[in-house]
Symmetry: C2
Subunit: 638 residues, 2 copies
């Protein structure tokens, strides 16, 4: 059962601060820029054609000429959905008539592109209506529906406008008819609609959508070879996907029996998010146990220190335990976003700091690194080591780019970052009937919806004091104590106190208006060490401060970071941002050694080591000052 629930986006009026600046960037730059891309008007970006696809599908349905037809990936529609969802959250934060009008116009195109029977997908509507529902593996029809349902719910909640919601209810009814009423078999090749249907259920109160979500979750893996059979039955393919691979789409066993996080990492975490959400909606203990096992599989054996997941480009997938290469890693931005969603749903039924810690780690490192500081360029893949000349160049490293490109043919990540940052309140705060929960430290005024209204002040992630004041009402407050904070103290109304701490959360059960809780976290930088089972990190340490993982870039270190060894026993000092980075960025200076170069490729002469100062910057800002070497893990002197 849900112990506490995500708050709606508008429950948090955010104060100026780190996250607010990102949300403004999303509003001022990311959303307009992405609209230009979706409209094929952005210079230097790959063509999107998303809006044209909807217009053309509408024309086809109206018996008119379909214009220049469909262009893009089969899941191109979802880019519009994620953009609309980001717009919805942004409108809650920053009302904007012009933007809302643009969104309404797009929604009109979407409405017109819906078939009479509720079907909605421009690829099939334009290209081949006969092929609908024949290719669940590659077809992405349910995936696109899922994203559009999420957008519909968000847009309705932000604006009160039902057009898109009604479109997506009709679409959900169509899907329900196909899979439940008519009993056609199968489940989504790319999980997504499950988590969306649960949102639609909560928004509409219609239990059919929860039933449909449960159906897809329950069906998955009962016939591991369903997609192979489906492929044989239809006799055509979109891009020759390996339908025999039972791991790629988490089909290897019924979900309640799954133990390892496998396959395409975004598919995995979207699925697990829905499983956790359903488990807490229904109190399904075996489903919760499966979620817990999969959570542990990821976070204890298959996750990067940056909260990145997915060790390989081959299938954009998890590999095996402790296989965490830093240079050929995938660590898709979307996968870390999905990991945040999974963590947030786990938190709803199990208030445990480890979920919040991982959510925070993924957010402040991989998710933020996914976007250039100017909001105009994006990483799909987030390497922990970049060496120009190898990264992005060697055939094994083609995907690990040393610089963010402007847009991708497969553009799932950019709008995903936008929607996640704009709705950060959902992940930062939660509430039960008598308690407000603070999972992430985001400044602003929060209405927990249970009578309690609390303000939060903080300079996080660069300041380590978080102050909560009860503005209205009374009740309990529960605040995550980050696992990374070796020392911390809490003051209640100015007096140090010792709150009850349960599973990483400090509880203040009885607060009244005017009460003030101040949490002072550890501001010291610290090194972390990976398990000795991770071959890629042996002999190495990574540097963190608060939730931020730091990295070493060539631009700050004479061009060469490969020759550096850090001394993790020396003091680390915090300093200003280096030139070219925003003023709020705190750099770290560590002591270490620079190795002299060998003569030739291999040399038996022990290379000299010169003591030196080494500068580190937060991982999320890497690659913002031109192409250069970058490393998160560096050798340390034992």
């Amino acid at each position: 059962m849900k112990i506490q629930k995500q708050l709606p986006v508008n429950a948090c009026r955010q104060a100026e601060g780190f996250m607010r600046r990102y949300q403004k960037l999303v509003k001022d730059v990311v959303i307009p820029y992405q609209y230009e891309v979706l409209s094929d008007r952005a210079q230097g970006a790959e063509k999107s054609h998303v809006i044209a696809n909807f217009a053309n599908a509408g024309a086809v349905l109206a018996g008119k000429d379909g214009g220049d037809g469909f262009y893009g990936m089969v899941f191109q529609d979802s880019d519009a959905a994620k953009w609309l969802e980001a717009v919805a959250y942004s409108l809650e934060l920053f009302p904007d008539e012009k933007l809302e009008e643009e969104a309404d116009r797009l929604i009109e195109l979407i409405r017109a592109a819906q078939d009479e029977d509720g079907y909605l997908n421009t690829y099939y509507t334009i290209k081949d209506r006969e092929k609908r529902w024949q290719n669940l593996m590659e077809g992405h029809e349910l995936y696109c529906s899922g994203h559009m349902m999420e957008a519909a719910v968000a847009y309705y909640e932000a604006t009160g406008k039902r057009t898109l919601l009604d479109v997506m209810i009709r679409n959900a009814e169509h899907i329900y008819r196909h899979f439940i009423t008519e009993g056609n078999d199968g489940c989504p090749g790319h999980p997504e609609v499950e988590l969306a249907l649960l949102k639609l259920y909560r928004c509409t109160g219609d239990r059919r959508w929860m039933e449909l979500a449960r159906h897809f979750i329950d069906v998955r893996g009962t016939d591991p070879h369903f997609f192979a059979k489906e492929s044989k039955r239809r006799g055509w393919t979109l891009w020759g996907m390996d339908v025999e691979d039972v791991y790629y789409a988490q089909m290897y066993a019924p979900v309640r029996e799954q133990t390892d996080a496998v396959g395409h990492s975004v598919r995995a975490v979207y699925l697990y998010t829905a499983m956790a959400d359903l488990a807490s909606e229904t109190g399904d203990a075996s489903l919760f146990q499966a979620c817990r096992r999969l959570w542990e599989s990821i976070t204890r054996r298959r996750m990067y220190v940056t909260g990145g997941i997915g060790s390989t480009v081959i299938g954009e997938a998890f590999t095996v335990d402790y296989d965490l290469p830093n240079d050929t890693v995938y660590a898709e931005t979307c996968a870390s976003i999905g990991l945040m969603y999974f963590a947030s749903r786990m938190l709803e039924m199990d208030v445990d700091g480890e979920y919040g810690d991982v959510m925070e780690c993924a957010l402040y490192n991989t998710v933020l690194a996914g976007m250039q500081l100017d909001g105009k360029r994006f990483f799909y893949v987030n390497p922990l080591e970049v060496v120009p000349g190898i990264s992005g160049t060697a055939v094994t490293h083609r995907h690990d780019l040393p610089q963010r490109p402007a847009w991708y043919a497969c553009a799932c990540c950019p709008p995903n970052v936008a929607r996640t940052l704009s709705s950060i309140a959902k992940y930062a705060y939660g509430a039960s009937e008598h308690m407000g929960y603070c999972h992430l430290f985001v400044g602003g005024e929060v209405d927990f919806g249970n009578g309690l209204v609390v303000s939060c002040e903080t300079e996080y992630p660069y300041g380590f004091t978080v102050t909560y004041c009860v503005r209205k009402g009374s009740g309990g407050l529960s605040v995550r104590i980050p696992g990374w904070s070796r020392n911390w103290r809490v003051l209640k109304n100015g007096e140090e106190c010792a709150p009850e701490v349960v599973k990483g959360y400090a509880y203040f059960p009885e607060l009244a208006a005017g009460d003030r809780v101040e949490m002072v976290l550890d501001d010291r930088a610290y090194f972390v060490y990976a398990s000795g089972r991770v071959p890629a990190d042996t002999g190495c340490a990574a540097l963190k401060r608060g939730p931020l993982v730091y990295c070493f870039e060539g631009v700050d270190n004479g061009g060469d970071v490969l020759s550096l060894t850090v001394d993790t026993e020396e003091e680390v000092t915090a300093g200003d941002a280096p030139e070219g980075l925003p003023a709020d960025v705190v750099s770290l200076r560590v002591r270490g050694f620079r190795r002299e170069e060998t003569e030739g490729l291999y040399s038996s002469r022990r290379p000299g080591q010169a003591a030196c100062e080494i500068l580190a910057v937060p991982y999320y800002v890497w690659g913002n000052r031109g192409e250069n070497q970058m490393r998160v893990w560096v050798p340390y002197r034992i």
Copy 2:
């Protein structure tokens, strides 16, 4: 021009010792076992069908039933060729009537499988004669011819029997007609025939074969897109190879303009071997310069410390400078064999110790590691780091097996090891009119063919004194001083002396019968360090003694080598072979530290380090005591 030339295999009567034991193993185990495989009689090995293919092709040509047709890879014939070549060399070392009879029977089958016009290839003869010469990229017709020419020359030189030689002369005439007389365009997709034609030229004195070799070398890369055009022209494919990839088969530029070693690494070094051979036969300076550039590209930027080459399984290929991952490496056994051949040909025109050093490194590390100590199992891929659970399992590591399999569907490496070890004298010794050259240290009596007969005594690679005695005649002797030997001394007739040393070779210009030259090399183990530009090796050292690279295996180190750090300033002590390894093996004991395990995947607690002793064994014996962790590069304490 050739300053000195490879000796024939029979010029060296090898003494008991390290290499002789390997040659006996090849004779007693490898050759008979491989014959069983080729005859499809070996238990537990993949089916070969090589001999049946020849029988069936002969039947087809005789107008009879082709039996069970063709089975295997398109280049399956070459396995028979390499086996025959190994048999030829082995017969020179160990006359064996029964083996010679077996070889003669196979040669009869081969003769019968040759078409009237001289064409010889069982794949096309059995499956589709119309497709001959249409697919130089994938077809391997020239590759198979090349290997069979090498076998023919070797078998003729060993036995004086001309049957196979005449078959291959007719085959060469057929190829000459097709490419020279008729002027059909193209060059081999897999270089090999070029180096074989040069052997055939030297064996027969017929300059047409050198002309044909030069033609193929000159044509390569003049039209980088030849294979794409060829593919379009024929309209069919064998396995869908990427014909647009101009690097894979070294087609990106005319060979004299090539600068980087690229593409499929075996193709590359077979090509460069022929280029070097041709350059020295013809005195072609621009071709020598190209060879030199490619040599430097490999050995200064793209070679493993084990003499392995080819950083990736994708295309079994070179990647880019300094990209030398230890765990996902390819380092095919055949590629290191080809590197030995290339080095040997470079030595013929440029007596420089660096060629001998690399040849020795490839031989004693990667090539020997390619074979299980029992001679029955083989590595195709030679990783420098193996972690069971990841290696051979993760999708990125499937090719890096933790144990040698019995045979491969693509079985190029096993017979290649056999033929190379049996003919080691060719690479170990060379001669000019007035000088004998000693490139590798292989005990035995060597007739340099210029009047000088010298015996060599040594326990190499485990003993470091090499003693040469002039048995007959007089003349000069030139001995490589290994680059790895920091200290060395030479005694002439018991007196320390200071010979002239030029480019890594010590010269003794005037020796007479009874003269004795004793070279004492450095027997101390030493650590090597990679260039700081190699990301995979930063913070790490590798251990060597003499030419042998050592490695750290789990079985000798409590199961876990990932937690080890070596202290490269402490003394290394040599010791006996651990249980389960041959008695001659010298183990090394180094001081170091074992790191304690972290709590969880990442921990901010600095792990304790316990001083410990670490045992290392030669890399070439790794994986002979069951599946376990193995590392060549380990972190070292700075």
